[in-house]
Each structure stands twice: as C-alpha cells, then as structure tokens.
C-alpha cells in the first residue's frame, strides 16, 4: 500500500490537530448528552432570513456573484457599521464578503505574512488562529491572558512580545472561549503600541453584537486605527447563521485588494443564497437579533451564578456566549474534569487548554442552550462534584 503521508507538505505536518476533535470523537455515538460544547447559537436562523434565501432560489439566483460579494450586501454592511460605530467603509473597495470569518482570517494572514514573520495573539483564543498563522508561513507568538485580569490583553504584554519580525497582532474581543471583552481604554493602550511599532491589527469582532453590560468598541474606530486594522466580522453568531457561512473583512483598500486576489483564486465568492439571506438579516433582522441577545443574557446570568454557587470560580463574561469557569479548586486538570464529567454525567464541555496553554485549569461552557438544559447541566455538574 502506498504511504500517502510521504506526499504531505512539511508545512501541514507542523499543524497539530484541533484539540476539540478529541472531545468531538468522544461524544459521537453517546446518547442523551447535554452539550455545553457548541460554539454556535441554538436558535434557528430567523424565518424572514430563511425566506429571503428560499425566495432567491425561487427566482433563480444561483449564479456567481462579484468576487467581493454582492454590492447590495457590501452596502448593507457599510451602513450597519456607520450606524453602529460611526466608522465608514467604502463598499466598492474596502469590504470583502467571505465564506465565514474563518476564511477572512486566513485571507488576512496569507495576504500579510512572509515566511518568518511573527504574529502576536492573545490566549486563550479561538482554535484556528494559530494553525492559520503557521499555514501562512508565519510564527505565532502567544501572549497569555489571566483570570486576574479577566482575560484582557494589555498593551504592555503586547509590547513585551514585539520583535523586529513582528508583523501583526490578532485581537478577538468579545472572546471565544472566555467571554472577555476589552473596554475602550484597554483597546486604546493596544492602539498606542500598534502605532509606536508600526504594526497591523487583525481584529475579529464576530461576537460584537453579543455584548452585555455596555457597548462594544470597534477597534478601527479608535484614533489612527482605521488604516491599520483589518476588521473581521460575520453573521453566524449575531443572526444564528453559522451554516450559511457569511463573513466579511473590512480595511484599507490596499489590504482588501490583496485579500481579494487570494479569494478570487480560491473560494471565488461566497454562496449567493447565503448572501441574499445576509442582506435581509442586516436590513431587517435587528429585532430578532436583540431578542436572541436578551435571551443569551438571561442564560448567562443563570449559568454563571450557578457555576459560582457550585464553587467553580467564574468571572463575569461580558460578551459572546461562553462561561469560562476554573476547575483548579477540584485538583483535576481541565481535561480530566471534562472527560470524567462526560463519562459520568454525560455533560460535554471543552477543556480550556484546547484554546491555548493559559486556558489550562478552565472549561469552556457554552450557554447557547435552553434554560432547562442549562439547569439540568448545573445539577449534573453538582452531582459530579459531590
């Protein structure tokens, strides 16, 4: 039998498999699992958005779109950022519609990174950033954030990680997996360092709408950051559209056109049906989105209070839909805790170390599940701990 592995590129051999995969494999085949391991809304895409997709198919809209995405969608994106954050992006040359935010992040890194370039990222963070940096030929430089600082990264930490090979910084707030947010003054500190060291920022703000107790600060709205930021966002989380895969990147025309170059030779364009749904979501989806956010907020209060009552110390997450409790008091590692909890109580969570070394000792628990499921999960965790 041919050893196909010998054909693989050296680069792919350096990319470790996602730590999430292991837990996915464990859960497969188990019945009646209460899952807090999901990184997506439990709501179905609102009906009027689905209907816009159906209607577009009925009308026969099944063609390619412009590589950049439908101009109507880019205009709707531009309008929403103008209205929400007072930042202006020209739909003609500053917005690129992608197949989810993951593609947008990959494009940004491939457009920027030369072999040997370093990209700073704060951990714990979304699982795909590090592999994407490696696949683009760069070197990831992780900066650990801590529970004591509510998992916010400081300008000082970033400055300490900068070398003469540093090209860019990835910021991701509200954060997956911690639920942490950065206040405006925190971000301004980072912006000062960015200017001083002449860097770029890739800011993934896909959870911006899921911000509780305050308003999200768009990184590119800060002084001087518009020209130094590739802003990533999408509709997966805000409008419960994960499977429709609509993301976008916004930034200076010179960077967006570089990303477009790769996009047009690879993905070509995002699916037109999903783009049609996205237009409807941005134009008429505010009320449903707000209703979902209110519901997440209720679940957040109930679940985080419940975890703290059980002695699993959890700071107050102010964004996204994840709680990130510590299990250090139990004497178990997060992997042990997650595996035992799954086998004994059939509750699935994701150990924090999957999201970077500094996540060790924590669990990512998604509260994008019904209140009844969350209550049952808390009861089962209590039983597990007793």
């Amino acid at each position: 039998m041919t050893d196909v592995k010998k054909f693989l590129s050296d680069k792919i051999k350096t990319v470790p498999p996602s730590g999430i995969r292991k837990y996915f494999d464990m859960v497969i085949g188990m019945d009646d699992v209460i899952s807090l391991g999901v990184g997506e809304p439990d709501f179905v895409t609102p009906w009027h958005i689905r209907e816009a997709c159906i209607y577009s198919l009925e009308k026969g809209h099944t063609s390619y779109t412009s590589n950049s995405g439908l101009i109507e969608l880019r205009e709707a994106i531009s309008d929403s950022f103008h209205n929400d954050y007072g930042v202006d992006y020209n739909p003609d040359d500053q917005i690129l519609v992608t197949t989810g935010v993951s593609e947008a992040a990959d494009l940004a890194l491939r457009a920027l990174v030369n072999p040997g370039d370093e990209v700073i990222l704060h951990e714990p963070c979304y699982v795909s950033y590090k592999p994407s940096i490696i696949l683009s030929g760069g070197t990831p430089v992780p900066v650990s954030t801590t529970r004591d600082n509510e998992f916010r990264v400081t300008g000082e930490q970033i400055e300490a990680a900068i070398t003469d090979r540093t090209k860019a910084i990835i910021l991701s707030y509200p954060n997956n997996p911690t639920g942490a947010v950065m206040q405006k003054q925190d971000l301004e500190e980072v912006a000062d360092v960015v200017v001083e060291h002449d860097l770029l920022v890739i800011s993934d703000e896909v959870y911006d709408k899921l911000t509780y107790n305050g308003k999200h600060t768009c990184f590119s709205s800060l002084n001087g950051m518009e020209d130094r930021t590739i802003l990533l966002n999408g509709l997966s989380k805000s409008h419960a559209m994960t499977g429709l895969r609509v993301g976008y990147a916004m930034g200076p025309p010179g960077l967006i056109s570089a990303m477009l170059l790769i996009h047009q030779y690879t993905m070509l364009c995002a699916p037109i049906t999903a783009q049609m749904g996205a237009i409807e979501a941005l134009r008429n989806g505010e009320a449903e989105m707000q209703a979902m956010v209110r519901e997440y907020n209720r679940r957040r209060r109930l679940f985080v209070t419940g975890l703290n009552r059980l002695g699993l110390d959890c700071f107050e997450p102010r964004g996204a839909f994840y709680a990130f409790p510590s299990v250090k008091s139990t004497g178990m590692t997060s992997s042990q805790f997650a595996e035992e909890l799954l086998h004994q109580q059939k509750v699935a969570v994701v150990p924090g170390e999957v999201f970077g070394q500094s996540g060790d000792g924590f669990l990512r628990c998604s509260y994008a599940s019904s209140l009844d499921e969350l209550k049952t999960a808390l009861e089962k965790i209590e039983e597990f701990l007793s």
Partner: protein, 159 residues
C-alpha cells in the same frame, strides 16, 4: 419591567427567584414588580396553551365574522362588551375589511356552535350578518406550534 413580562409570557410558572437570577433584579424587586403588574391589569391572567386534540377532549372552534350596524347611542365597544359576556366566546376583535368584528367561539359540537351563533349572536339587533368558519385543525396557538418540531441537529462539540 418589560423583561419580566417577556419571561412570564413565555413561562407563567417561572419562580420569582429564577426570574431574579435571569434579570439581575433581586427576588424582592421581582415580587413587587409582578404584584404591580397584576394590580394594574397589565398581567390579565396566567394561562396554559393546551392541545385539546391530544387530550381526546374534542372541542369545536369556529371563527365568526360579523357585520355590525351601529345604533344611535351604541358604538362597537357596546356591542363587543355584550358579545364578550357569552362564555362560548373565546376572543373578540374589531377588524378592518369586509367585516367589523371577528369572534372565536368554542362549543362541544358543530351543532352547539351553530345554534349559539343563530340564537345568541345573529339575533342581536346590531348584527347585520354573520359568516361562520369552522376550524378544522389548529397548527399554532398563541405563538405555540401544536405539531412536532424537528430536533436540533447541532453537533455536540464545535469550535
């Protein structure tokens, strides 16, 4: 205040301590506000949505549209209040279009409903004409679908 109402509308049996947890108010505050909402008539009644077909207790529902002739001293409110007094009438609405009032009526049989409409409603002086639509099946009631919904197909673990 609206947040408490939204929660109660979804689940009237929700305990005040849980509503407090969900909203960030204290339990005492929740109790006080609910009392105020009840006293002011904003919360009219706590009610369950029941799929009577499943119980086997078969009721017959009909939607009755009425054309009304207003008298010198009586408006829609007067006739609506009068019709609302009948126990058979489950809802009553003033509507636009070809008719003026729309009623939902419940009875034990089609005959029951038909006699009620003929004898009690059509005989009222202000009622000019009636159109009766019998309900064959209810798919959704008060925002609650009465059919089996597909279970979520989410992966148990995802990024």
């Amino acid at each position: 205040m609206n947040e408490i109402l939204e929660i109660i509308e979804q689940d009237p049996k929700k305990d005040p301590s849980e509503i407090a947890l969900l909203t960030g108010y204290s339990e005492k505050e929740v109790q006080t506000r609910i009392k105020e909402l009840e006293d002011s008539g904003i919360i009219r009644k706590y009610k369950a949505v029941i799929d009577w077909d499943r119980v086997g207790e078969e009721y017959v529902y009909a939607i009755i549209e009425l054309k009304i002739t207003l008298g010198d001293r009586s408006g829609y409110d007067t006739i609506a209040h009068r019709i609302a007094s009948f126990n058979e009438v489950r809802s009553i609405r003033l509507i636009s279009g070809d008719h003026d009032l729309s009623l939902t009526v419940r009875g034990k049989s089609m005959k029951d409903v038909a006699f009620f409409v003929v004898e009690k409603i059509a005989s009222l002086d202000q009622v000019q004409s009636t159109v009766t639509h019998f309900v064959l099946k209810t798919y959704k009631e008060d925002g609650v679908p009465l059919f089996e919904q597909e279970k979520s197909k989410r992966l148990a673990i995802s990024p």
